[in-house]
Structure formats: structure tokens, C-alpha cells
């Protein structure tokens, strides 16, 4: 095989067969979770992975609507376009939506600017998620995690056990063999279930393109107001964002590879404005998608630590 970048493996050769195998596997996982759950729920972030997951849940139970609610952890700092997208899509899918905000955090004015990304995420994301899961007493929680996202996730099971405090113990994972998932939990314990475990970022875009799945327009390149911070482009989504002295928002043609809270999610300069164009860019890029997530850089093994504490 050639050693030069341009002609090496990162071209799009995986065909429909592979994608349909991934789809069948994900549907099998979703059905297995639902068949064994007392109180299932699906975390919904409006991101591309959430969009694919919801689409798969609709396919799994057709002609019935997905027999579970969606749960959105609203940090109040998400891009405005994400919220309008959420309300449109949820109505169309015929599923219930539960929205949870950490009210105490909100009242205390916790925000990503004055509290720092780590503290803010602990309160408004991880803390809020724990509150919502406790309140709903959910035993099976579907999430959009992929093993290619990050190293500790590459080690996580499809049905990943969480104790009553929602913690993940990487040393005590249940062996997971064949397609035989151990779905048993005791009162208070739960399973995080990742039907997209074996998908890659490119698979997600291939599937979105092939199935015509709607995604938040922020994924597509458009001129948007941004400022440069620590070498990354941050979008000025609303008036709550304090500008540094001398900082002047510029209009640049950018898009987002991942979506979260706008102050913590960096944009990339791009002209890709269709799923196919994004796929081509994804296959040619030099950086992982998580580079645009400021929260992952909070310290070594930061994602593993967050997950031990009950993060997504």
C-alpha cells in the first residue's frame, strides 16, 4: 500500500453493505434495550449522532412510534438554532420529550465564562443529567456514543453498567460476548446503551446522506460571526457572550463538527454545505472531531474521569 496521504486508506470505499450491517446491529441493540427495560429513555442533544439515533429508533419500531421518551439536558447555553430544530423534529417523530435544566445551577448563575468549562460542565451537564435520571428512575438510557470518538470510549461496552450513583467503573465492566447483552440491573442501577458504538464519524455522515436525515443547519458551512480564542473559532451566538477588550466578531464561512454549548464548541473554516461535502472533508481531515470540544482538553484522561462521575 502506498505511504502517501492522498492515496492511502482514507477514501470512501465502504459501501452500502457495511452501512446496512451497522444499521441492523444498531436496531438490534435498540430493540434489546427496549424489550428488557422497565423505564427506558433516549438522551437527545440535537447533535448529528442524536439525529441518527432517533432515526434508527423510528426504524426499529415502525409502524409504531419509538416506545420511549427523549431526554434533553438543557444547559441554557446551547446554540439557538438547536432548540428550534429540536422542537420541530420531536413533533415529527411522535415521541415525548422531557427537558431538564439544573435549576439550582441556573439560579446560582453558573456559566461557562465566569466559572470555567470544567466547573460549568460538572454543574449544568453532569449534575443536571444525574438529577434528570434520578427523577425519571430510568433503567435503560440510550446514548449516541461511538467508540471512535475517544480512547476510553473505545473500551466501553455497548450495554455499559452504571451504579446507583451513575458511575462507570472501567475495571468492573461486564464481559460482553457475541450479541448477548446482559441487561439486568437492580433498583437504582442503570445501563447506558450505545447503539452507535461501532460507527465512525464518516459512517454517520454517509448514513445522514443516504437516508436524508435532517440535522441542525450549524453543521453546514455558512457565514457566521466568530472570534478567535486560543487558536479556535468561537461563534458569538447571543448577547450573553462577553467580548475581550479589542475583540471584534468577524464574519467567516464556518461550520461545526460537533455541537454543544456555543461558548465551548469551536467552529472550523469550511465550504462544505451538504452531507456529501462534509463526508469528503471528514475523510480528508487531519484532526479529530473532538479537537473542537474544549471540554475534552481539561486534563489528562479527562473524558474517563468525567464518565466515572456520570457524564454522558
Amino acid at each position: 500500500m502506498s505511504g502517501t496521504r492522498a492515496s492511502s486508506g482514507r477514501t470512501d470505499r465502504s459501501g452500502a453493505h457495511w452501512l446496512s450491517a451497522l444499521e441492523s446491529e444498531a436496531i438490534e441493540i435498540i430493540r434489546e434495550g427496549i424489550a428488557t427495560a422497565a423505564r427506558p429513555v433516549m438522551l437527545y442533544s440535537m447533535g448529528k449522532d442524536s439525529s441518527v439515533l432517533l432515526h434508527l429508533a423510528r426504524k426499529a419500531f415502525w409502524p409504531a412510534p419509538p416506545p420511549l421518551p427523549l431526554l434533553h439536558i438543557d444547559t441554557t447555553w446551547q446554540f439557538r438554532e438547536m432548540i428550534s430544530f429540536r422542537d420541530r423534529i420531536v413533533a415529527r417523530a411522535g415521541v415525548a420529550l422531557v427537558v431538564h435544566v439544573n435549576r439550582e445551577g441556573l439560579a446560582a448563575g453558573v456559566n461557562p465564562f465566569s466559572h470555567g468549562s470544567e466547573r460549568y460542565t460538572d454543574v449544568m451537564t453532569t449534575g443536571a443529567l444525574r438529577q434528570a435520571l434520578d427523577a425519571g428512575e430510568y433503567d435503560i438510557v440510550f446514548v449516541g456514543g461511538r467508540r471512535d470518538e475517544e480512547k476510553s470510549r473505545a473500551k466501553e461496552r455497548v450495554f455499559s453498567f452504571r451504579n446507583a450513583a451513575h458511575q462507570w467503573d472501567p475495571r468492573a465492566q461486564r464481559p460482553e460476548l457475541w450479541n448477548l447483552y446482559n441487561t439486568r440491573v437492580q433498583q437504582g442501577e442503570s445501563l447506558r446503551v450505545s447503539p452507535l458504538s461501532n460507527w465512525t464519524e464518516a459512517d454517520i455522515w454517509r448514513y445522514i446522506a443516504a437516508e436524508g436525515i435532517p440535522v441542525v443547519p450549524l453543521y453546514f458551512a455558512k457565514r457566521r460571526p466568530v472570534v478567535e480564542r486560543e487558536g479556535q473559532w468561537i461563534m458569538v451566538d447571543d448577547e450573553r457572550m462577553p467580548l475581550e477588550p479589542g475583540e471584534e466578531p468577524r464574519l467567516l464561512r464556518v461550520r461545526f463538527r460537533t455541537l454543544g454549548c456555543y461558548p465551548l464548541t469551536a467552529a472550523v473554516e469550511s465550504d462544505a454545505d451538504t452531507p456529501k461535502a462534509i463526508l469528503a472533508e471528514t475523510l480528508a481531515t487531519h484532526d479529530s472531531e473532538r479537537r473542537g470540544r474544549l471540554v475534552d482538553h481539561d486534563g489528562d484522561a479527562s473524558m474517563e474521569r468525567k464518565k466515572r462521575e456520570g457524564y454522558f
Binding site: T11, S14, I27, A60, S152, P170, R171, L180, N182, S288
Partner: protein
């Protein structure tokens, strides 16, 4: 979306294994980097991490690309299996990077269970180690027919041909013995990358493929032709009275609309009405597809049933022989109840006999009465209900199972079915006309089992006796099964070891079930110290027919009461395996009734049972 190119082979799923320090993580990291599968920011991170954790001085330690857990970095080893997807121009790969340490063998088995091929590493300086043999045998047990032996660290033996040949020869006989069908041996250096993605031109004595070339071209697909259709039902989809669909993933063969199918284990036959997919229907579907079938007739199908080709239906059994790997710190106990999950069915199962334990390094059979963590063995298993099955080597999807410890829900074992045991298939459950309902109606009562558990001298027998007198006086038909009395007769052959205690309870529970079927109210007064046996007993009855009553008194109180002088003797060491002294009592976590006999008298306790449970 790009169209599938006909020349592109189906994705290859492989597991990377071998003994610790043979260089698995380094090899995988190198393979990923050389296939341009590592992003620039990830590579920068590895260079930073290498300075902190690495073992390669100033060079980037490529193992850190894959060893993602904090403990792994700190200890410089791989603990858990990591899954990575990567692709080249010719093929897509899913690789499971399995740990080498013996204590993590179960994680290696996890990786092997979903692989088509195993890449086994051996250190050229050390050759084939016991762990290399162990991994090879586990891979073969989990159905892997294709193995690559990568003799690694060839740079450290200066690419010496005779060293390589000696290791290759030794491994060939091991692989043959383990049941590996196709073996490829390749000399490599994960550190320098030679013969991974790039041929080492200066080693002329080796003319075979590089590791990547072999992986890109090897054909591992088993043919779908010759398989009969099998689809375990995962989920019954019934949104309204007009639609009733059976959802599942096809494990073998193909199905078309109009095909005649049999529902297993019930044996009912019908015809496939439609194959429903998203917003439409299809004419046919095949192995690997997740679909929803509708059937031409109204038949009773539940989760765990298998819809199968009518002319070649799968087997049904409640006893079989299997290979089993044990994955729990708590050893396997013969006769103890575990949950067994096979395709989408969960049943209660017990290992009735350990035929032998496998010495995995040598492949020889050892006698054994138990299996410990990471042991492999061949066992007989009995299930409480018949299951639809197939031998693993013929239909892996119907021949693989996991065993779950019901007390803590951990996955304790995993196995593959060899064949059904004949005894079961010749025994048929006979249905008779006089039913339990008819019998209990005649007695004007509802039959049930009241199970009293507690330490010796906690007050079980006294309460049971009072309770039966009260019931009898009210005109009920009862029977009392008492621990001591049963041990004089039916269970005379049993002692007090853990295995015998398990069997003791099994027999009593079965007798109680027969008596409930006869229409009686059965009171069981047994120490029954283990949660799993009480759960087993509960599993024999219909929901609501079995009540667990915890007769509670502290060990100090019981020892002070000591009506038979047993505690005194046990404490003097004259009786072994005495519950509460040198054998454990597992308190019921969630009994139907909790009686504190330190606060309540026997009359009050009997009264409580009558009021709360009858």
C-alpha cells in the same frame, strides 16, 4: 453515498491477542499510524503523553494511542479490550485489542466472540508462551477458524530465520490441535514497522505477505447457502389491534414472503405474511438483517421464540453439553441456579456435571469439581424450560450463551453448545386433564408455597408448626416440609458441603412444587442459606404462588437459644459447615415478609403470616 465497489471485500473483524509484553498495543498503534488512521491532534497528544508515560525515551510510544484508561497508562499494560475501526483502500477492519495478562483472560474471550480472525503475537525472543496457547484455544473455542501468528520483535533477534522457523513449527502443531483451520505465520517488528504495512526487503528468506496484505485479502465469510432460516424474536410489535409484528435480527439463512415457518419451541407452523421495514415492506431478507415479520395466522409467539424454516427446524432441549469459560471471581457451583441467556431467551439453568476442566497450555483434560475465574471446561447443563438451540459450530447465533449470577447480575460465564443430551429429548412433558386449578377448587383454597428461611434456632419450625395448626383448624389442606425431617429420608444421602446444600434445596423446592400442583398449601421450613437457591425455588412457581418469609434473629440470640445444643457443638468444632459459624447465611434482600423473632413471639409471627400472605 459512494456505491459499493464489487471488488471490496466485506469488513474483517479481528482480535489481537498474545501474552503480555509481546507488543500488541504497539503493533496496533503502528498499524493505525501507518494506515493514516491517526489524526494530527491525536498524534501530538501521544507525543506529549510519551514524555510522561512512555517507555520509548524520546520516541513516540505508539501503544499510548490505544491504551486509553488511566490505570492502563499508569501500569503500562492493556486491561480491557478496545475496539477500533479503520479502513484502507481495500478493506474495512474492526479490531479488538485484547489484554495479555492472564487475569484479564475473560476480556480476551469477549474480544474473540465477535471476531472472524485472530492475530496472535509471539515475542521472537520468548516463543510460544502458555498465554499464547491459552489465547489460541479460546479463539478456537469461540469459533475463530483463521489465525495469523505474528512473530514480533524480529529486529531483536536480527531477523534470524531459524529462530522464526522454530517458533512457527511449534505453533503449527498447537494450532492444529486447537482446531484452527487456516494459519498464516509472519515475521514482523511492531517497533520498526517491518512487514506490517511495508515489506522488509532485506529479509529475503520470507516471501509471504505483510500483515496488512494478508488481512486485506483473507476470505473468512462463511457461505449463507446451505443454512436454514432462523430468527430469534426480540420484540413483539403490537401498536394496535390491526398490526402484530415479530421483530428480530436474522441469525441464519434467508426468508421470503410466503415461506412456511415453524415457531420454536412450540412447534406451531404458519406462513410469513410480510417482511416489514421502515415505511414499507420487502420481498426477502437474509442473515444479518433486522426486520419485522408478520405471520399469516394468529399464533402465539413471544420474545425468545425462534421463527425458523419449517422443513428444517432447530432442536429443542433442556439438557446439553457445552464448553464453558468462567468469568467470575466466585467459582462455579454445580447444582446452583444461574440465569442463562441464549439468543433472546432467558431461562434458569444449572450445571449438573463438570465433565472436565481444560489445561489450556497443554490441551489436556483435568478432573474438576468446579471452575474458577478464567477456567475453561466442558460441562452438562440443565435448564428449567426447554430452549431452542443449535450446535455452536453449525449455527453460532443459536449455540452461544452467557450465564448470569442472579445474586449480583454479573456475567459469570459464557459457553458454546456442543450437542443436546439424549435423556431430555426422549422425555416429554405430559399434559393431564385434572389440573392444579381443579384440584385446589375441590379443596376450596388457593394452593401456594410459604418458604421460611433463617438461621438454626431462629424459630422457623415453631412458627411453621403454629401456622399449620391454624390453617388446619380453618379447614385447609396443608403440608409442612421441615429441614431436619427431610434429611432423614429423601435427602439422607446429602451432607453439608455447599454443593450438597444446593442439591438439598433443589429437591425440596421440586417437592414443594409438586405439592402445590396437587392443590396443597405447602409450608417449607429450611435454613436455605443461599440467596441463589431461594431465587431458584421462587423461579419454579407462578408469580404470586411463592412467598419468602425471613425468620430473623441474630446469631448471638440463636446461639443463646440453642435448643438442640448444635451451636455449642459447632463452636467446639464438632460440626463442620454450620450455618452462621463457618458457613455463610445470605440474608434475604427483599423478602415478602420479615419476622423479627427477637421482638415478636411465635404466635404473633404465625398471625402476621396469616394476615399478610393468605
Amino acid at each position: 453515498m459512494a456505491a459499493a465497489l464489487p471488488s471490496v471485500r466485506p469488513p474483517l473483524r479481528f482480535v489481537l491477542c498474545g501474552a503480555v509484553d509481546d507488543g500488541k498495543s504497539t503493533l496496533l498503534g503502528r498499524l493505525l499510524r501507518d494506515c493514516r488512521q491517526v489524526f494530527a491532534d491525536q498524534m501530538r497528544k501521544v507525543e506529549e503523553d510519551s514524555r510522561r508515560w512512555g517507555t520509548r525515551g524520546d520516541q513516540a510510544d505508539l501503544a499510548l494511542l490505544v491504551d486509553g484508561l488511566r490505570d492502563e497508562r499508569e501500569q503500562g499494560i492493556t486491561i480491557d479490550v478496545a475496539y477500533r475501526t479503520f479502513e484502507t483502500a481495500r478493506r474495512r477492519f474492526v479490531v479488538a485489542d485484547a489484554p495479555g495478562h492472564e487475569q484479564y483472560t475473560r476480556n480476551m474471550a469477549t474480544g474473540a466472540s465477535n471476531a472472524d480472525l485472530a492475530v496472535v503475537l509471539a515475542d521472537a525472543r520468548k516463543g510460544v508462551l502458555p498465554q499464547t496457547a491459552r489465547h489460541t484455544r479460546i479463539a478456537a473455542m469461540f469459533g475463530i477458524r483463521h489465525v495469523v501468528l505474528a512473530v514480533n520483535k524480529m529486529d531483536l533477534v536480527l531477523w534470524d530465520r531459524s529462530t522464526f522457523e522454530a517458533i512457527a513449527d511449534g505453533y503449527r502443531s498447537l494450532a492444529r490441535d486447537a482446531g484452527v483451520e487456516k494459519l498464516q505465520v509472519i515475521p514482523v517488528s511492531a517497533l520498526t514497522g517491518d512487514n506490517l504495512t511495508r515489506r522488509r526487503e532485506s529479509t529475503q528468506w520470507y516471501s509471504g505477505p505483510t500483515l496488512l496484505e494478508h488481512l486485506e485479502t483473507v476470505d473468512v465469510e462463511s457461505s449463507i447457502d446451505g443454512e436454514s432460516f432462523r430468527m430469534p424474536v426480540q420484540y413483539v410489535n403490537r401498536p394496535n389491534s390491526d398490526f402484530r409484528g415479530y421483530s428480530g435480527r436474522i441469525r441464519a439463512g434467508r426468508v421470503s414472503v410466503g415461506d412456511r415457518v415453524r415457531i420454536s419451541p412450540s412447534g406451531t407452523e404458519t406462513v410469513v405474511g410480510s417482511i416489514v421495514v421502515w415505511q414499507g415492506t420487502r420481498e426477502r431478507a437474509e442473515r444479518g438483517d433486522s426486520v419485522t415479520l408478520t405471520l399469516a395466522n394468529e399464533v402465539n409467539v413471544t420474545r425468545g421464540d425462534v421463527i425458523a424454516e419449517a422443513f428444517d427446524p432447530p432442536g429443542v432441549t433442556d439438557q446439553f453439553q457445552a464448553n464453558l469459560i468462567w468469568m467470575s471471581d466466585r467459582p462455579l457451583v454445580v447444582g446452583r441456579s444461574y440465569l442463562l441467556k441464549i439468543h433472546s431467551r432467558e431461562v434458569t439453568a444449572t450445571v449438573t456435571r463438570i465433565r472436565y476442566r481444560l489445561d489450556v497450555s497443554r490441551g489436556s483434560m483435568l478432573a474438576g469439581t468446579t471452575l474458577n475465574l478464567n477456567d475453561l471446561g466442558t460441562v452438562n447443563i440443565a435448564t428449567n424450560r426447554p430452549i431452542t438451540y443449535a450446535p455452536f459450530d453449525r449455527y453460532p447465533g443459536l449455540g452461544s450463551f452467557i450465564m448470569i449470577d442472579p445474586t449480583n447480575n454479573e456475567t459469570a460465564g459464557a459457553g458454546t453448545i456442543n450437542f443436546a443430551l439424549r435423556r431430555a429429548s426422549n422425555l416429554r412433558w405430559q399434559d393431564f386433564h385434572v389440573t392444579r386449578e381443579a384440584r385446589q377448587e375441590l379443596k376450596l383454597q388457593r394452593a401456594r408455597c410459604l418458604w421460611l428461611t433463617g438461621l438454626s434456632a431462629s424459630g422457623k419450625s415453631t412458627i411453621a408448626d403454629l401456622l399449620e395448626k391454624r390453617l388446619h383448624a380453618e379447614g385447609h389442606h396443608t403440608y409442612l416440609l421441615d429441614g431436619d425431617n427431610i434429611r432423614h429420608g429423601l435427602n439422607r444421602d446429602l451432607g453439608f458441603t455447599e454443593v450438597d446444600r444446593v442439591e438439598n434445596i433443589r429437591r425440596v423446592a421440586e417437592v414443594a412444587r409438586l405439592m402445590v400442583d396437587a392443590g396443597l398449601i405447602v409450608i417449607v421450613s429450611f435454613i436455605s442459606p443461599f440467596q441463589s437457591e431461594r431465587e431458584f425455588a421462587r423461579g419454579l412457581f407462578e408469580p404470586g404462588d411463592f412467598s419468602e418469609i425471613f425468620v430473623d434473629a441474630s446469631i448471638e440470640t440463636c446461639a443463646a437459644r440453642d435448643p438442640k445444643g448444635l451451636y455449642a457443638r459447632a463452636m467446639r468444632g464438632e460440626i463442620g459447615n454450620f450455618t452462621g459459624i463457618d458457613s455463610p447465611y445470605e440474608k434475604p434482600g427483599n423478602p415478602d415478609l420479615h419476622l423479627d423473632t427477637e421482638k415478636l413471639g411465635p404466635e404473633e409471627c404465625a398471625e402476621l403470616i396469616l394476615r399478610r400472605l393468605l
